[in-house]
Amino acid sequence: MATKKAEKTAKKTAMDCVKIARDAKRPHVWDFINGICDDFEELHGDRLVNDDAGMVAGFGTVRGGGAEYKVLVLGHHKGASVEENMASNFGMVNPDGYRKAMRLAKLAERFHNPVVTFVDTPGAYPGREAEERGQAEAIAKSLEFFAGLKTPVVVVVTGEGGSGGALAIAVGDKVLMMENAVYSVISPEGCAGILWRDGAKAPEAAEALKITAPDLLKLGAIDEIVKEPAGGAHKNGKTAVAAVKKSVLAALRELVKLSPEELVERRYAKIRAYGNFYK
């Protein structure tokens, strides 16, 4: 009986990861900004129609190992309170948020600031204004834009990597993923509803989709897994954030050595290689 229980706790399912990734106490974008940057200045607006509270953007200084990097930080903002959740649509971003990100990343490119992104979103916001203001176009443009950006881009999938809404700020030179984060083309519930015709089959869908960090590393979709404290990052946020900082610093150290041209060539080769296409 005791052995069976030990076996059960030892094997983590994909749905277990999903639950940890969605935990309300899991470190969120401001925990990472405050834990990683010594100073930070948030900036606002897409300069077209709106400021999207679902996307945080700003410049900050990251110090470590004798080095100092002045970076642009981008990240989905789920919110730490009900008010924040409502204002930010739980980190589901509108086109305005993606355009804010591109606007400031263009600025970062001009002054050679590396970009560090924190990805944690259930998906892009499925709303009326979102469609009217070109949600599809904003995401598409972001993908084209970040693919060719002439400054290093370090991506950290910290929680939920929700499909296109996540990918819009996840095209980069180094893609890190926290141990219990998940990253998927569709949510397990969405997939279960369509292919199992039963939303309750989300755990089966989660297994089939291969959405955990080890799965993604094997598939070549991410570059490195960042270990979390036992039980998940929500058990010890400080340690979790420190581990992410260490990996981000290591990535920046390597990437700043490359010329903008080398960087873009290397990034294209990486993106170009995604996928298997022979029977």
Partner: protein, 276 residues
């Protein structure tokens, strides 16, 4: 003993119904031959219905100029994906047998009104036009060959979105195709995107919306999220013309709505303006 009476059977659909075409938009009934003769366009409401990739190519490419490329690029079941109804491999193989295509986009070099081009046409019949690794690979290769041969790129999209069965690698095709298109543009070549009915999800959120010009056909469905998902999120009813070509044009996201009969000439005219 009334409860032993056999239940009244549901009336079977008369065989004659199979000869009818029903417009998905205005629901008008017409002889299937009429639908076909009108190039799959509803004579009542002008909804431009779906064409197969080969039917579209025949209408856009100059006779005898279309040369298919990358046919050897097909799907891969790297997830060994199974769902409630079976495995991915069997589903694709069945689709390949049924449609005669190897993937959801057909690529080839051709001439359009005398202008040389790289033409890609998606086929909704192939797994809902879904974006898989093979689809993305064909598009990326098309961009690279177009750059090498100085050919403008024209892609007709029709898709329900990314192919779930290939998981994260389907998602990554959004990045791959967008990156390749960016390179094509940097190389000084034009990309005309034609969004046909329907163009949604991961395809609209990648290459379909990245045209130097984005054009479409009357009454096409174009959007990101599904209507029902949006209604369930915002708890509001949406206008009837939501996510239609006309709606997108009104909101500034479509360069032009082009009638099917005019499409080939329109593409040739634009390529001519840009010196191609």
């Amino acid at each position: 003993m009334g409860w032993f009476e056999p239940k009244a059977e549901k009336p079977k659909i008369p065989p004659a119904k199979a000869l009818w075409a029903i417009c998905p938009k205005c629901k008008s009934h017409m002889d299937k031959a009429v639908w076909k003769k009108n190039n799959c366009i509803c004579p009542k409401c002008n909804y431009h219905g779906r064409l197969s990739a080969r039917e579209r190519i025949a209408q856009v490419a100059d006779d005898g100029t279309f040369a298919e490329v990358f046919r050897e690029v097909s799907y891969s079941d790297h997830l060994k994906f199974h769902d409630a109804t079976g495995d991915y491999k069997s589903k694709v193989e069945a689709t390949i047998a049924k449609t005669g295509e190897n993937e959801s986009v057909v690529m080839g070099t051709c001439e359009i009104g005398g202008h040389k081009a790289m033409l890609g046409v998606m086929d909704f019949a192939f797994m809902g036009g879904s974006l898989g690794s093979g689809t993305g690979e064909r598009i990326a290769r098309a961009c690279e060959q177009a750059i090498a041969e100085r050919r403008p790129l024209v892609i007709f999209s029709a898709s329900g979105g990314a192919r779930m069965h290939e998981g994260i690698l389907s998602l990554m095709q959004m990045a791959k195709t967008s990156a390749a298109i960016g390179r094509l543009k940097d190389a000084g070549l034009p990309y005309i995107s034609v969004l046909t009915d329907p163009t949604t999800g991961g395809v609209s959120a990648s290459y379909a919306m990245l045209g130097d010009i984005n054009v479409t056909e009357p009454k096409a469905l174009i959007g990101f999220a599904g209507r029902r998902v949006i209604e369930n999120t915002i708890h509001q009813k949406l206008p009837d013309d939501f996510q239609s070509a006309e709606y997108l044009e009104k909101h500034g996201f479509i360069d032009k709505i082009v009638e099917r009969a005019d499409m080939k000439a329109f593409i040739a005219k634009m390529l001519n303006y840009w010196g191609f």
